[in-house]
């Protein structure tokens, strides 16, 4: 069994200023962590390896040299091999360029040792687009299952798997052929406390570093800023919406409720047409 897990190092934006446990500072110069969903993806891969009785878990990331720390944490969690795809030329990548690089890297890894399953986090807590996993699946032309919460069956001989995914209405159970790409929710596997000997081994582990030209020659037109057509106009946190008005039929009667609702809609509509008046709160 060969699993590849794509992980991203992200700033710890949990935005708590006080460590709930110790009451001490959460640092300025916010510390970097492994994207939380990605750690669960690593754990799922390691558990799958244990379940089928062996294999290899390869973790990859595209990021600055500092991202090696994140890979080492994955080695602690049980991954066997870690690759850091790092080059100034990758800088400024959007989801399109990121997907291109990761897809090409996975193809190369697959040529060395065929890959049965690829795991991504459901989304990165900084970028939050949830596009990179699907982008990679599309480029590799393999089945994609997003928001996976469990791998019920994993049959390397029949080359099929049964996966549960979370949807708004409930849970979907899907059968897929292998290789498959999953983007995972945290439920996929609880992250275990890594044993001390693994921490010690990982502390001495050095991830492989791939540049833009070796061992894979990436198309310079498709990486970094050049390969990134996305233009971010503005980044902002949407204003928190208040709870809204509850109009009860029991209290007012149907007609009054409809009238009230219409009035509210009209008011909102007027505001949309004339945003500068800003009278509606």
């Amino acid at each position: 069994m060969h699993a590849v897990v794509a992980i991203k190092q992200v700033p710890d934006t949990s935005n708590v200023r006080i460590d709930p446990e110790t009451g001490t500072l959460i640092r300025e110069g916010v510390p970097a962590i492994v994207n939380p969903y990605d750690l669960h993806a690593v754990e799922a891969a390691v558990q799958l390896k244990e379940r089928v009785g062996g294999g290899q878990v390869t973790v990859i990331t595209m990021g600055p040299p500092k991202a090696a720390e994140a890979l080492i944490e994955c080695i602690e969690q049980g991954a066997d091999r870690a690759i850091l795809i790092s080059d100034r030329k990758f800088g400024g990548a959007d989801t399109l360029a990121t997907s291109y690089v990761l897809a090409r890297a996975i193809e190369t890894i697959n040529a060395e040792l065929p890959v049965d399953i690829i795991l991504f986090g459901k989304q990165a807590i900084d970028g939050d687009t949830a596009q990179v996993g699907p982008g990679v699946a599309t480029r590799l032309n393999i089945p994609l299952i997003t928001y996976a919460i469990a791998i019920e069956e994993f049959d390397l001989e029949a080359r099929t798997a049964i996966v549960h995914r979370r949807v708004e209405q409930g849970i979907e159970v899907l059968q897929t052929s292998l290789p498959v790409l999953l983007t995972v929710e945290k439920e996929i596997a609880p992250v275990r406390h890594a044993p001390l000997p693994r921490l010690i081994a990982a502390a001495r582990y050095q991830p492989e570093v791939w540049s833009a030209t070796a061992p894979v020659v990436f198309d310079p037109q498709q990486i970094g800023l050049k390969g990134s057509p996305t233009v971010v106009g503005k980044a902002f946190t949407p204003e928190q919406r208040s709870g809204g008005e509850v109009i009860s039929v029991a209290d007012l009667g149907l007609n009054a409720v409809v009238a009230r609702a219409l009035a509210v809609i009209e008011q909102a509509h007027v505001r949309n047409l004339q945003p500068e008046t800003g009278v509606v709160s």
Partner: protein, 437 residues
Amino acid sequence: MGMLTFDAIVVGAGPAGVAAALTMARGGLKVIIIERGRFAGAKNLFGGVFYTHALADVLPDYWERKPPFERPVTEQGYWMLSPDSVIRVMHKSERYRKEPADAYTVLRARFDPWFAEQAVEAGALLITRTTVTRLLKDERGRVIGVDTDRPEGSVYAPVVIIAEGVNNLLTRQAGLIASDLPPTHVALAVKEYVNLPAKELQARFGLSGPREGVAIDVFGDVTLGLPGTGFIYTNQSGISIGVGMLLSEFITHRLRPYEVLERFKNHPVVRPYLEGGEVREYGAHLIPETGYDRMPKLAGDGVMVAGDAAGMVDALHREGTNLAITAGKAAGETALAAHQQGDFSAAFLSRYRRTLEDSFVLKDMKQYRRMTDFLESSPHFMGTYVNLLNEAALRYFTAHGIPKREMEHDIIKMVRERRSFTGVAWDMLKLMRAMRG
């Protein structure tokens, strides 16, 4: 997996632990440092003045290794606050300007990782996110290793150096100290980091550039006149501001630490310095006020303790990191000698304490041994005198058309009203005794 065995285990990657690990790694020992934080410094906080002399002792070429200092301290002194006034006693000297300077402001989140990195470069193994839960002892009670909160988490070594900071659980488990520190022997400090652009900060504090900085310790109204101090230190582009008092004072007077700090920040003299600054972080930390006479035993069979865990703090001069580093180094050197002799007994390791007795660490601790007791027994000291001084200054500096002789009498009368002559004499005597040791 076989047993995890090292030549030495260090618990805690604060200044004491790192200095010990660095010393031992350079001496050729196989060393593991176990730190519970995400990284060294992740859980650490201090006021902010770091003295370089101890660092130079463990790492003579530290300056070339580009330590993440904020600003050299080129001006320092005291503010004595009354509710609406201040008397400032500041010392500024051209002699503070030579670099490397004696003292720098520092942020531990930056400094500790850098310092730990020096130990790692020297060959020590740093394991983070791992808490040591207990000491492992053999049937004769000798320490032979530690257990951690990790699966398969036991590590063995003939010598363990405890540098766990003020929460001295392991020190207690080692039997080196009988009980936890009572609230009268531990101070609680709260601190904020307030962001300010460097230019603005320099203008407000009268600094001519990034190579100048101020360290101010504040007494009086900052702690509502209770024993304790406040501080204001300048970083590269931000202010460290905080206040600390004995835990017992917070309890007795039902004060909330953050309210005390908020009050300090809103003092009319202080507020203009912070205007427009953004609070980037805040936190709280304990400071041991153990005092020389209540310090733990510093060594047992297979174990030594250094830094805050051993109560090595000189609160009067707000020194702690330098005592911790010097002690860590001494413990490390003792461990090296123990390995050479193959003797890890308490008797052999007791030379660690002797080294410290000969250094400033225990000499200063001994000199100020009565300080905590003094403050405890004279809680009015700060408030009364600081307010008095401010009143006196006000009368002295204002012209009321009163003859100067009368004004002097007025001032003396005011002092007498607030505290009897014998009271003043007694306070001074006690203070002198506390200072002389």
